[in-house]
Symmetry: C2
Subunit: 322 residues, 2 copies
């Protein structure tokens, strides 16, 4: 029922190969013939079948984006930017949610591998080994995780953490806590290292769940540690922490300053408005797609792009009481 290239050929009195070339190799066909063919195609409502084309060209013009949890507010802006950028390059994108399950992640990569030219792995949960192996089947670009020899886009949370600590010390805070996230994540490590070397008197609290509840729970530890400035693993934790502190009569920012990471919408809506390390998620999405486009024809390239983060000062940080 759908109109194919042969219908167009028949209707315009040329061979299918000519129709094909009219679309994908214009310089090889007489301008008059071409415009006639295009007119007929238009009239018939013909659209080239990309899947069929992929069969011979080996280019699907599709990408895959794999994330652990679409509903995590950190990812949608990244996906949105990546998708928009891909579209501008005439690529469509599959999006798959692995529900934090490495097993699912592997399966998804498998089923996607033949229908895409490359995959964006956002904070993958698979082991390095598994990723190396799957790389044989489809090109990857990894976001927010360091894997040797693989094209990578990193958002420099370490640098962001330094910014945050500097901001706190400039406000006069001497004792600072890092309320960290799950043990062993790349992000946690980078933050830990940055805070440790930032030259302040630092205490490390955690691991904690990377959620609002994790922050609420951590409030007691923060109070016990007698710090006046806190850098939280992410905005959700920061928001929970502020809530936990206020339940215990500690005020933000009057008594304790709190900084989050991610700059999600909820932080801007929070009262006090959250001071936070803003992640260049949209930029990361675009860069990753660019690297994917490059990886498509130049398999060897294994660049590492590191994106700067920035500090957004709002209302949850203030001068230390003297």
């Amino acid at each position: 029922m759908p109109v194919t290239i042969r219908d167009v050929a028949r209707a315009s009195g040329v061979h299918v190969s000519t129709v094909s070339r009219a679309f994908s190799a214009p310089h090889l066909v007489n301008p008059d013939t071409r415009s006639r063919v295009l007119a007929v195609a238009e009239g018939l409502g013909y659209r080239p079948n990309r899947a069929a084309r992929a069969l011979t060209t080996g280019r699907t013009h599709n990408f895959g984006i794999i994330v652990a949890d679409i509903a995590n507010p950190f990812f949608p802006p990244l996906i949105k930017a990546a998708q928009a950028h891909a579209r501008s390059r005439d690529y469509n994108v599959f999006v798959a949610d692995t529900d934090e399950d490495p097993q699912v992640e592997e399966e998804v990569i498998q089923t996607l591998s033949k229908q895409v030219d490359g995959v964006l792995l956002c904070s993958p949960r698979l082991t390095n080994k598994a990723i190396e192996r799957l790389r044989e089947e489809v090109p990857f670009v990894v976001v927010n995780r360091r894997i040797r020899g693989m094209p990578t886009v990193l958002m420099d949370v370490g640098q962001g953490a330094s910014l945050a600590v500097r901001h706190l010390t400039e406000l006069g805070h001497r004792r600072i806590a890092l309320v960290s996230g799950p043990a062993g994540s790349w992000t946690s490590k980078a933050m830990h290292e940055a805070v440790a070397t930032a030259g302040a008197d630092a205490v490390f609290l955690g691991p904690n769940a990377p959620t609002e509840q994790g922050g609420i729970t951590a409030a007691a530890d923060v109070i016990a540690s007698r710090v006046t400035g806190v850098l939280a693993y992410n905005d959700l934790v920061a928001i929970g922490l502020i809530e936990g502190l206020s339940e215990r009569g500690v005020r933000v920012p009057e008594d304790v300053s709190v900084i989050g990471v991610d700059d999600i919408v909820a932080g801007r809506l929070n009262r006090p408005k959250l001071t936070t390390v803003s992640m260049p998620a949209a930029a990361a999405g675009r860069v990753a797609v660019d690297m994917l486009l490059q990886a498509v024809d130049d398999v060897a390239a294994a660049t590492v792009t590191t994106l700067e983060t920035s500090l957004v000062v709002r209302e949850s940080t203030g001068r230390a009481r003297t």
Copy 2:
């Protein structure tokens, strides 16, 4: 380089058609042969190419989900649920963001049409006419918009609005405002009608931008209208409204009760925690995929599924002052 069905055939000494059947029609091949073929395939790391398969079967085993804005917190849970459900039925999903642009929406549908078995249109911005036309090319299921003769999943905001109004009247509020959203949206109309017939003394304020800023701006109108209960177009508006009211010295819920719609994360994080009409987004995603699966082989079906909403009472509503 990737291993094909012919490689497997050669390596296991059978014809390609036998390999094909070993995978997709097991009952047609001798159990011994089958297990031998599967073993060889496994050893070679063979994966059937779904795109190639689609060419002959006419089933791509892909769906498309089209939304106006992935970053709108309402959509990710829906996408997540739809994707997970689709995966359990062995379907992959494309996700496309149209940036609220009907033109882009149409283009995206066009390029996707041949690579998917159906498309989920979430709150489409296209005209009915355009959608009817595109329907010729690919089956649709429409979410959150009413289009005659088309499979549809609706979340009953009207019923949710009734719930909200009833909650307010039970708390003793006599004058109620509906702070509506953009003019002409299906949602706005449904809410308007529900509030108008809910039997309270109602005033209608708007149209407003469906954002936090829209809510802040509407605060003045709300105060001027001397209501004590408000139903906002969505949670963002409600949060903005609460902020706008508090800037003007009006307290929530002591002076005015506010109810939102959507139940986004930010509402739960807000202070006061937002009372809201919760939308069954995940259920909608699952149901929509089920309808899509059905539409794939039974083009005629044009069911309308309406999902109930529920009221989540938190802290932004309270008893009217007597």
